[in-house]
């Protein structure tokens, strides 16, 4: 019998909340890039078993980022617009050695592709999803993914302002909407449906301003934001997608927007949805009076705590210089007007918009400090850590490199209060952060940074360390300084292979198990395709046949297909 290719990670302090393991010293066995049950005694003792000593280290599944902007035309435009941002940041150096070769890159708020892979990996993250790709930009996103090493990837496609979607919703064609969503998810090679400012981007592209309430009709289409949200949420559920609609509500960033957010939560009437960068949607106050700006996180969190069908990621704002980039075209223009800084926008025919603006969050500026505090309130008020994921909406609220700092703020009340005291003095009166004394445990951190996002995304092999899971593992040196502990993992293992050792990126690839792109293959009614084709050829400026991304051009694919049926 052929000898098995076994690796064992020995005696680590394992935090694997998905399997109910909270800081237990145990061995983890790996084979073919997967976690396996401990083999028979005889095989365990074989001399060719690779042994990694994890004694004294905290062991967690690799981190999973549920919402980030790392690929596609929008991100690339931002790179191009901001050379100065990169010049002020430490670059990634090229390395060639007997081990392997790794590429150079630029960093800053929008790192180049190779740098993105190395930085995530160096942070102990092994999976990241891009949150906003226009279907027409899918090929571009996949191309960048091919050049983003060491992490598994996937993306969500923008459908909330798609003309075909708006038309079907206006006509009440639920079946046709579902068929279209199924078809386009496959054509783009996407993992989930994203909705950005439903109807509002289309209104902006038509020169008709924006959509500010759930029941305003979308110009030229007549359907409302409410119908777009519920229609697509239902379609995602009908198709049994692993991740429900990923929703960026109307009125992002505007005082008083919590009403819209709460209204959207109510409108779902029990349907599943993921509310992304919820921090940016939790504001009270009058639209035109900044002095009334305040937190409504407690009100929203109360609804959230009582509605298990809703999940969120935070979109934490961190102080410093970054780049705001969004599929929300009118928001980009608004930020440009507020900040007076450079503005890039790019609209995609029939599908989407985009806005990019440099931004500096200042702790002494009331609005920014309050945004920071509201993000933290969300983490502390959400009772069920399984339904809240860590995010900065990279790079919108800040870089993903800020996660260790957020972890420190959550785990250490004293540190948090110090930080709060250093911000604008007006913050405390406008939010409840000062009263919240909850401190996250290591296990809760493991939940919100890997176990929960993996579960929300429907990735059965991610975010845990049970048999069958991908052998994506991060080892941390326990440290009272949580920033240091989480910023510099001791080791990172990707698909069973050691890829980061003490901060050094060892290789560009996790071969023989290369990184993968996740996408869904839902069932859909193929009889709808001729109609979609006719519509497409009449409206787009390219041929229907050139629209779907060619499979052979993709990085290795992890397809979830077809999504299993369950009754609703």
């Amino acid at each position: 019998m052929a000898r098995r290719d076994l690796t064992v990670l020995e005696s680590g302090i394992v935090h694997d909340p998905a399997n109910g393991i909270d800081g237990v010293v145990k061995d983890l066995w790996m084979e073919n890039g997967k976690i396996i049950s401990p083999p028979a005694r005889l095989e365990r003792d074989e001399s060719n078993v690779r042994r990694i000593d994890a004694t004294g280290y905290v062991v967690m599944p690799g981190g999973v980022d549920i919402h980030s902007h790392i690929a596609g035309p929008k991100v690339n435009l931002a790179r191009r617009m901001r050379p100065e941002d990169k010049r002020q940041s430490i670059p990634v150096e090229r390395r060639v050695s007997a081990f392997g070769a790794t590429r150079s890159g630029s960093t800053g708020s929008v790192p180049s592709t190779f740098a993105t892979g190395y930085l995530y990996s160096g942070l102990g993250y092994t999976t990241a999803f891009d949150a906003a790709i226009a279907p027409l930009a899918a090929r571009h996103a996949h191309e960048e993914f091919r050049d983003t090493p060491l992490i598994d990837k996937g993306f969500f496609i923008l459908l909330g302002n798609n003309h075909y979607v708006l038309t079907q919703i206006a006509k009440g064609e639920r079946e046709r909407l579902r068929a279209f969503a199924g078809w386009i998810l496959q054509a783009a090679g996407a993992h989930a449906i994203k909705v950005v400012n439903p109807g509002g981007v289309e209104a902006w592209k038509s020169g008709m301003g924006n959509i500010h309430s759930l029941d305003e009709p979308v110009p030229h289409f007549g359907c409302t934001a409410r119908q777009v949200v519920t229609g697509l949420a239902q379609a995602a559920m009908d198709m049994n997608l692993p991740h429900p609609i990923h929703l960026h509500c109307n009125n992002l960033g505007l005082p008083g927007n919590f009403n819209t957010t709460l209204g959207t939560m109510r409108a779902l009437e029990g349907r599943r949805a993921h509310f992304t960068h919820i921090q940016f949607h939790s504001y009270g106050g009058e639209a035109l009076d900044q002095s009334t700006f305040c937190s409504k996180a407690p009100e929203l969190a109360e609804w959230f705590n009582n509605h298990p069908e809703i999940t969120v990621d935070v979109g934490q704002v961190m102080f410093g210089e970054t780049t705001s980039m969004t599929g929300d075209g009118p928001l980009g223009y608004f930020l440009h007007k507020v900040t007076g800084r450079r503005w890039t926008s790019a609209d995609t025919e029939l599908e989407a918009g985009c806005g990019i603006v440099p931004i500096t969050y200042r702790e002494k500026k009331l609005v920014h400090a309050l945004q920071w505090a509201i993000g933290l309130e969300w983490y502390l008020l959400a009772r069920d850590p399984w339904r809240i994921a860590m995010s900065t909406d990279h790079p919108n609220g800040g870089s993903f490199l800020a996660y260790p700092e957020i972890i420190a703020l959550l785990m250490d009340r004293g540190y948090r209060n110090e930080a709060l005291n250093a911000t604008h003095p007006g913050v405390k009166a406008r939010c409840r952060l000062a009263d919240l004394d909850r401190e996250y445990t290591l296990n809760e951190i493991a939940i919100i940074t890997r176990a929960a996002p993996a579960r929300m995304l429907g990735l059965a092999t991610k975010g845990h360390l049970g048999p069958g899971a991908d052998a994506d593992i991060t080892l941390y040196q326990p440290d009272h300084d949580k920033r240091r502990m989480f910023a510099l993992p001791r080791m990172v293992i990707k698909a069973g292979r050691l890829v980061v050792d003490d901060g050094n990126i060892l290789s560009d690839e996790s071969a023989p198990h290369p990184t993968r792109t996740w996408m869904v293959r839902p069932d859909f009614d193929r009889d709808a395709v001729p109609d979609i084709r006719t519509w497409f050829e009449n409206h787009y400026t390219l041929r229907f046949d050139n629209y779907p991304v060619e499979r052979e051009r993709l990085a290795p694919v992890e397809a979830l297909a077809p999504c299993e049926k369950t009754a609703r």
């Binding site: 191009r80 090229r94 070769a101 630029s106 790192p111 440009h336 409206h539 041929r543 050139n546």
Partner: protein, 451 residues
């Protein structure tokens, strides 16, 4: 990844096959090619430029040359690797007629070598790139133009000549969702000091004196911002103030306007300010209505290779990797200066006809660098033969990969005919592998190129 070696030739298949034409930045994907008498006949819907572009030409029998003499491919690749690996300050230049996949290899090679990397964008579009960094850009895909635009402004551009189907496919004629009557729903303006064919289709042609575009842009910006205009010299600029005011009025009053700027706006002194001004003008108009500004891009895939360079390094062109990471400084690391100053000892050109860009700066025909060329055959005029030349399958008809339209929309390029010449991506993959091997082993080169 796609295998490039077993592409079915379409020639035996007798039906019309859809194709993507890369004859200009329009990247029309509605053309077809049919086999006829051992060659291809392209139906480019009346575009002669495209038809010429997709013609099959006799291929050279030999693909690789060392010092102007035929050589085995492998030997040529080894020689190129040795020269590049030993170079002190190599310049990698071109990336026009190249797929994104090949461009990615070129960027990788530049990274391993610590080379200067520049694309032809630094010649045509450098000013635009700089403007984007200065003020940002406001762009939209060409389908947005087709479906929504009721005002089209061509500035320093003559698309009927340079991008023959731009007007019929995207900008002037086609009916769209919000402009159902096509041409009738649009107001078309040309601003160009030189003879301009597109002007014959325009509702308004403003003809500034040569080199006066900048004055017009700034006057328009002031009008749109509602500011006083002081010192505008109608006679010197060639366009009267009232005419300009009429235009400003139209720009503000349109529902969805697009400014397409061409090479002529970007040529000459102060061009960088012109591009900056054009983008800023679009910014200003957005206070009143939706307005966009886009450059018209040339043939091949310059858009795609710039995109690849940017996502891999963070910068679109004009960069240097000598310190082990990308540094960006157009002007310092751009091809023209590195060649003129004699600072680069090795020049690697890929997917470009170097004579189109580099000859003029070095008129006496001699150069101080060793030249390696990979791509279509070099024209006779190009100085002395390169040290190493590798002729690859013709980009227009035999390449396979991804290409980008001038509006950043990607399209799949599929081979239309079989070529006996090697595939560029494979050549580059081998070259990269050979260079990496040399670096890993850090042993002296095995085979001298010049011997």
């Amino acid at each position: 990844m796609a295998s490039r070696d077993k592409t079915d030739p379409i020639l035996p298949n007798n039906s019309a096959t859809p194709a993507v034409c890369t004859g200009c930045g329009c990247l029309c994907d509605d053309v077809t090619v049919s086999p006829s008498g051992g060659s291809l006949v392209a139906n480019t819907h009346g575009c002669a430029k495209g038809q010429y572009w997709l013609e099959l030409r006799p291929e050279p029998k030999v693909s690789a040359f060392l010092n102007g003499r035929p050589a085995p491919l492998k030997k040529a690749i080894n020689a190129a690797a040795d020269i590049l690996w030993k170079s002190n300050n190599p310049l990698v230049f071109g990336l026009e007629q190249i797929t994104c996949e090949s461009a990615a290899k070129v960027v990788a090679i530049s990274d391993w070598l610590g080379a200067n990397l520049d694309t032809t964008a630094s010649f045509n579009q450098g000013p635009t790139g700089l403007a984007f960094q200065g003020v940002g850009e406001i762009s939209c895909s060409l389908g947005e133009v087709r479906n929504r635009a009721d005002l089209i402004l061509f500035w320093g551009a003559d698309p009927l000549v340079t991008h023959p189907r731009h007007t019929s496919r995207y900008s002037i004629d086609p009916p769209g969702v919000h402009v159902p009557l096509g041409r009738k729903n649009r107001f078309v303006v040309v601003i160009d000091s030189e003879a301009n064919q597109t002007a014959s289709q325009a509702d308004l042609w403003l003809r500034p004196k040569p080199g006066r575009d900048f004055e017009l842009i700034w006057a328009l910006r002031a009008m749109i911002q509602g500011r006083e205009i002081a010192g505008y010299d109608s006679a010197a600029n060639g366009v009267g103030l009232e005419e300009l005011e009429g235009l400003a009025h139209r720009l503000k009053g349109c529902r969805f306007g697009v400014l397409f700027f061409g090479d002529r706006l970007l040529a000459g002194p102060g061009h960088h300010l012109n591009a900056d001004g054009a983008v800023s003008l679009a910014h200003d108009i957005n206070a009143h209505t939706r307005f966009y500004a886009r450059p018209l891009r040339r043939a091949g895939n310059p858009m795609g290779s710039e995109s690849v360079t940017c996502w891999q390094t963070g910068y679109p062109f004009g960069l240097n990797l000598a310190r082990g990471f990308p540094r960006y400084n157009p002007g310092e690391f751009t091809a023209r200066r590195l060649i003129d100053s004699g600072e680069s000892d090795v020049l690697l050109t890929v997917g470009v006809s170097p004579g189109d860009y580099l000859n003029s700066g070095n008129a006496n025909g001699s150069h101080s660098f060793q030249h390696i060329h990979i791509g279509d055959g070099l024209p006779e005029e190009w100085q002395s033969p390169p040290k190493v030349e590798i002729r690859t399958a013709p980009f227009a008809t035999a390449a396979s990969g991804t290409v980008y339209r001038m509006d950043d929309i990607s399209l799949p390029l599929r081979p239309l005919s079989m070529s006996q010449l090697p595939d560029m991506e494979q050549v580059l993959t081998e070259l990269e592998g050979t260079i990496l091997e040399r670096m890993r082993n850090s042993s002296p080169p095995t085979e001298m190129a010049a011997s």
